[in-house]
Symmetry: C2
Subunit: 790 residues, 2 copies
Amino acid sequence: MANITKKVSWSSRPDESGAIGEGTPLLNGSEQQRHGRQLISMYVFISYLAKYALPDSDDVCLLFFFNCNYFKFQSLDYDNIENQLFLEEERRMSHMSFRCLEISRWVVCGLIGFLTGLIACFIDIVVEQLAGIKYQVVKENIEKFTEVGGLSISLLLWAALNSAIVMLGAIIVAFFEPIAAGSGIPQIKCYLNGVKIPRVVRLKTLVVKVCGVICSVVGGLAVGKEGPMIHSGAVVAAGVSQGRSTSLKRDFKIFEYFRRDTEKRDFVSAGAAAGVSAAFGAPVGGVLFSLEEGASFWNQMLTWRIFFASMISTFTLNFFLSIYHNNPGDLSNPGLINFGRFQTDSEAYYLYEIPLFIAMGAIGKFKNFFFFLHTKSYLRGLLGALFNILNYWLTIFRIRYVHRPCLQVMEAMLVAAVTATVSFTMIYFSNDCQPLSPDNTEEYPLQLFCADGEYNAMATAFFNTPERSVRSLFHNQPGSYNPLTLGLFTLTYFFLACWTYGLAVSAGVFIPSLLIGAAWGRLFGILLAIWAVPGKYALIGAAAQLGGIVRMTLSLTVIVVEATGNVTYGLPIMLVLMTAKIVGDYFVEGLYDIHIKLQSVPFLHWEAPATSHWLTAREVMSSPVTCLNRIEKVGTIVDTLSNTSTNHNGFPVVVQPARLCGLILRSQLIVLLKHKVFVELARSRLTHRKLQLKDFRDAYPRFPPIQSIHVSQDERECMMDLTEFMNPTPYTVPQETSLPRVFKLFRALGLRHLVVVDDENNVIGLVTRKDLARYHMGKHGLEELQLAQT
Amino acid sequence: MANITKKVSWSSRPDESGAIGEGTPLLNGSEQQRHGRQLISMYVFISYLAKYALPDSDDVCLLFFFNCNYFKFQSLDYDNIENQLFLEEERRMSHMSFRCLEISRWVVCGLIGFLTGLIACFIDIVVEQLAGIKYQVVKENIEKFTEVGGLSISLLLWAALNSAIVMLGAIIVAFFEPIAAGSGIPQIKCYLNGVKIPRVVRLKTLVVKVCGVICSVVGGLAVGKEGPMIHSGAVVAAGVSQGRSTSLKRDFKIFEYFRRDTEKRDFVSAGAAAGVSAAFGAPVGGVLFSLEEGASFWNQMLTWRIFFASMISTFTLNFFLSIYHNNPGDLSNPGLINFGRFQTDSEAYYLYEIPLFIAMGAIGKFKNFFFFLHTKSYLRGLLGALFNILNYWLTIFRIRYVHRPCLQVMEAMLVAAVTATVSFTMIYFSNDCQPLSPDNTEEYPLQLFCADGEYNAMATAFFNTPERSVRSLFHNQPGSYNPLTLGLFTLTYFFLACWTYGLAVSAGVFIPSLLIGAAWGRLFGILLAIWAVPGKYALIGAAAQLGGIVRMTLSLTVIVVEATGNVTYGLPIMLVLMTAKIVGDYFVEGLYDIHIKLQSVPFLHWEAPATSHWLTAREVMSSPVTCLNRIEKVGTIVDTLSNTSTNHNGFPVVVQPARLCGLILRSQLIVLLKHKVFVELARSRLTHRKLQLKDFRDAYPRFPPIQSIHVSQDERECMMDLTEFMNPTPYTVPQETSLPRVFKLFRALGLRHLVVVDDENNVIGLVTRKDLARYHMGKHGLEELQLAQT
């Protein structure tokens, strides 16, 4: 072993760095996970606390506090390990085998699309059925008690129903798979970026996610079922493409070629796209989403496969829903949410409306801006300040009292009950009665105290799944809502969504955003003038709100346009989203980016910070670095791997003194140790089976920890020849290379380790994702996260 | 100078390799260009000849014949030259300067969009006006002579008018700027890929292109004005982003930072996207086009800027057209071609129609397949065979007799006259009379021998600009055309388009493809059944035909959907395009790829051929390679640059014996020589101005040839210190690196030179674009273009 040792570069103090996420036995997976999740929540809240209550506290301390703990992210290997085994296999393969591989890639993508579509279909039908039953029961109950009095019983029934359903959803999430909470989009973004979030693409996560989202939506929370589809699609892709399920212990012996990070990532992109496609009926939007959020290297064939998966996904959903709706062959339901058909005349909007739209984009942003609490001052706006203070108290409360799963479940139930109560109260006191016209599409019109033949307009918004409410806001006749109803609805739903955000339930933020946006957009349209078509403004408002929150431009434009089914509004939607993006980025990053940052994920952005040219590889790299000799003693390898203070995953292989000749990964070494590929053994037992690529593939992706591998004292004295297994041509950079150049190489090729060499090709350091991710552009120029230095 | 010499790796025998394209004085630019273009034409035709008439001849000979001649492509530097000067500048720049740069990038993109939109608007209005006058004159003439007899005078008038207009267009193209012929899309694809096509983004090219396309369309050729918009957008981008015009000798001293290939490419992507956006009213499609055809490294900020340019472009066009149409503020004309609004019911198509659509996709492909003559057998289909034979004779004829510009002009005139004659004949003998209903939108209805209140349906298709014809085919009432009319029209237009293809006029192939497709699609719809809406089938047919020809999937889907203004047909269009792509790729590449290949452009595809893992950098690289010492004698440098047998553009800089310490470009050396940056001079004249980055930027992109720089005998003995100017950290690979790995690095980072080093960092070879492009996947596995070895 070369006498160089590597410094830990991210997130670990020597005394605590033993816990290295998935693959280490220090805590069992599930417990560790729960711990991690709680710590994330805690961290998020402490961070808020620090920002708003304790102005002198330092973010760095908090990051440090958080990062010293169990959560540690590993990277994925998006660069092929081109060792001798791999090259031999590739060389043995004929032209025809590559054709077959290519075809099987298409088949896998087709399967991904199909299964994702089926899941979406399943969620949609179950939600519709269960929500239908729930609304029917409550409606009948309300109607029964409206005349005779005693509506409080109806309220109780409604609240109890909601709470019970949400409880179910929260229990499975909080107790069984905490990673399934939320929409899963930030996790998938990280995965595609190259960060391994533990358990994120497992079957169990999928099951919990699907059941969880059904419960949340049926339970009447201010959530949507669209975001989780993206996560579901990704899990399906990760599962199908591997041809086996580790959880179910079934190996179908197919698609073994795809058992590596590079191929898996490509399929996960396709899965995420298929998810978007199923959620919004937007196959092109799905492809763009995958590319905008995930891919760095744009490959035409890959794009077409992703497109294919998206197409199949929306088609499957459409087809099965058409059967379900007893209208087989009518392909007009391409997504979970359908914005309905906008009646467009040839002049759908006027030039003078465009400034209005742009203004709405700015508003949508500001709302979100306040909504997500990243203002540092209370003065930025009344609404924002109010919201901040409320959420601040709520946050304190959650940190103090809601850190155990059972409490999380109870909080979720409470939110469900309150949501029902607030909705009921709003409906009860509303006197916005609208005539029940024959072409009315209301599913559950509540008459309440309205005259016969009329219904309560407030109920349209509240007493409905959020998807239907969005559609009503877009399409109901001008005059269906009076401004007061809309204003009250926006306000209450805003608060409810805010409270719901952060619960331990599986749910998306797309639909609440759309709903809030649609409500204030429609209000804006009504208040503005008489000539405006309010539905149009509702659409623009929804786009603005959503764009302000998730901050995607191109893909979101296409998604909204595809969901609308009409290109006419393409230009205003683009303008609005662009405005929302520009205005928004001035203040704070998008929701997903905020969360990724808060979780201290070493996420690599598109480019290195602009002012980082003065940094070179020498300053950025981790050094000294642990190197292995080409023929190395087993004992040294075991010690290196067991050394918890050097828990890294790639080791340059050198010939004396330090001349680089290859790179080998922890996972490879572990497989080698497990199969006892020692020089001495190979000599003594000539029949010893040669290690094949298959052995590595079988161990992928859950490589055992070093502690589980027993190496006897005798074996420690053996030698291991790494020549065949190491990657003999790792990418290298000279030590004078500037950070942007290193970054570009690293990012474009999806590397995990980049060896820094001197003029004579001697190893002097190693650049990993964490070395690069710690530089970011702050308010005062380039900033470096200090925790990396601990 | 290190005693290593580099072998020429592409396209040149020692005795002829002196001619190295733009930047060499052996031929003046224009003449050389013309030569090159003729040679391309010749080569294309000889290639056909070889394939169809001389079955024993070898493609390789032809490639050799062609490539030994004057045409030589240089590469662009899409990797920043991070030398000391550059790094110093970057380090001096504050955070705010980078912000300003970023803002100016947005401003440039906005300008690109605006100007591209204006150009599109100009073309559209001029074409509409001139074509209107032409059709009005001819129509009046025809009406005058219909009753009294003597329609042959009308025919003469029509043919003469067309010929005269086309003559004008052909003259400017053939005599002034031959690179402006055709649509320019293959050239832009090459540019974005990193190949420098001489003169492709010059102002003169733009002017010729715009005038040429107006003449071609007004002249009634079977061409469209959409393809050239993409080229125009790219030229605008290349011009605006540089803040100066070399042709006009004006330097505005702005945007100097953008004067390098990397930045320019980004803007050219935006320009191409803006062009697509203006042509089809498809901003998202434009972005996708740029990315699908050009970009390899997907950068989010860049994508948004491209999107912004596209948006501005379509908006500008829309706005000015709305003023032109006296309806300011009505933004319903987003593109040059507008497919019109499809009347969609909620059930726009049925499930059982999908197989039909897919079949149409396959047909579209086959037609194209025959259309573009890449069948090797006469048996693949009657139509194909007929077409092949015809075009074969035509080709022979062209090679023998049409190789001078004046002859090319005459041929273009002939085609124009024949087009008019054929159209006239078709209209004359057609007896498909349709009632002239009040809501009829025909612009120039010809009554001819129809009863009063009726018009000739054949004239709708022929007596119109192709854009209008497409729209009529999409939208006219079922029954507007009888099947015979459509069949005849398809057939004749097919032949006319075929003949037109390859003329020396500036014109696009999108619209003729759409028109042929729409015609047979409508025919298919009519013949198939009574229940079908023919317009729908016309749309699908058009998509299929276009998809079969240009073979873009994702971007074309979005373009067609955006041009249709309706997402309903998204799924069938996707399916059709996907089918056209899959079926098509089985036989032959897309039109643009064919042309790129025929021109022997060293075009890098997305990935290395699948079965190329057995090749390593050692086998691929050019070796030995000319290296320079870090402090080198001026005489050696001059000799190296003047040596026509080693006409390469990058030289590794080494310290003795051959240890790599940097990379320097020919263009940089030339600037250094021009400014006499010699060690001795710097010592003697202390006041000598230090060379700055600005000097390199001022010389960009037309660096003078070495022959124009005078170096005296004394100066030859001086020394030059390259340390400050060379890129000290070029990307390197070890010699054992596999070809796919080399390829990935090269392609992902847009490199021009990749240094191959041994274990001790000694230079042993250089990989350039041409070394990589020569491997491709043939019918029998991996093939290497032999010419590279000459």
